[in-house]
Symmetry: C2
Subunit: 219 residues, 2 copies
Amino acid sequence: MAAWGERLAGVSGVLLDISGVLYDGGEGGGAAIAGSVEAVARLKRSRLKVRFCTNESQKSRADLVGLLRWLGFDVSEGEVTAPAPAACLILKQRGLRPHLLVHDGVRSEFDQIDTSNPNCVVIADAGEGFSYQNMNKAFQVLMELENPVLFSLGKGRYYKETSGLMLDVGPYMKALEYACGIEAEVVGKPSPEFFKSALQEMGVEAHEAQRRAPPGSQG
Amino acid sequence: MAAWGERLAGVSGVLLDISGVLYDGGEGGGAAIAGSVEAVARLKRSRLKVRFCTNESQKSRADLVGLLRWLGFDVSEGEVTAPAPAACLILKQRGLRPHLLVHDGVRSEFDQIDTSNPNCVVIADAGEGFSYQNMNKAFQVLMELENPVLFSLGKGRYYKETSGLMLDVGPYMKALEYACGIEAEVVGKPSPEFFKSALQEMGVEAHEAQRRAPPGSQG
């Protein structure tokens, strides 16, 4: 492996994924991946700008940052780009009122959003919340709209927990797309807009950035 | 509308859909669609062969026929082509042992099928059975197989009940297809094999058959 200096020539910022890169989720919150706490600390001491870019949609940024700090990471809420706040921005810009099919842990991110008389649907990794009843309700809301708009916070197929593989939001996005004959708007990775907003928040141009994610991941 | 004789020239058999054609499902079992009891009786008095071809996968054929007879239809179990028995035939022919994600009402159709140590997954319109936990289990079974095989009893998007639109099996088939990166084998309409087996059971060639279904339906 080349030395840092050589590998980072021309790079002025680093966008770090969180889950599966900095820590692995699991019982009791999860565990830091070996070396990652030190790597983040070293990056922060360097001349490089650092930002965290996640598709985590089960937890609010506050809860996620609380967990990361507890695991030893130097990170604050303002340094994290996550799909729920990005979705809130889009909803406000377009005057949309969502029906939410999301995990209770992330619901607080939508506190400032009007959810009355919904004219779109937002789905996220809802875990057990993906019951038939909840999916059918989201489906019915979409079918009652003249122009059904579905936002999906990420489109991951599955993720790994200590208990095994878990279905992510992507399969449920596909289910609603097929049921309604529509295409969802993905908010989060791998949407280019999402990466761009993370870079913008970091104050770095795309060509100056280095993304760090495991090979083959959507990170 | 042309007279029966003219419309049926060259036709020697009639394949009838059931749900939405002969009766509408709903509370208390549902209700016969006006004129359909008499139409079936008239067909049966004619020179035409008659067979019933359904994608119903929440009920066993015995329960379905019981309901239809209660509604006044002249129909017996042996006259019904349904996806669950068709799937059982395929499972036996190919030596497959399914993990079943199906409605309790249709489980009896699989009584003679070995479901130990599954090497494929069969999904049907499971209704409330499409919980996150059940979907995740089906997903995990597929991911543990070297060659994941998924059968879907039909691929309907949704159907109408008196309480409103209900998600059918199709969206859940799409979810598992996307999660596992596979393509399901559809048993039931609109699979040509399914229609062919119905015709075979009726003793009619395809060109001699007339299908009767509402315009635009998958029936």
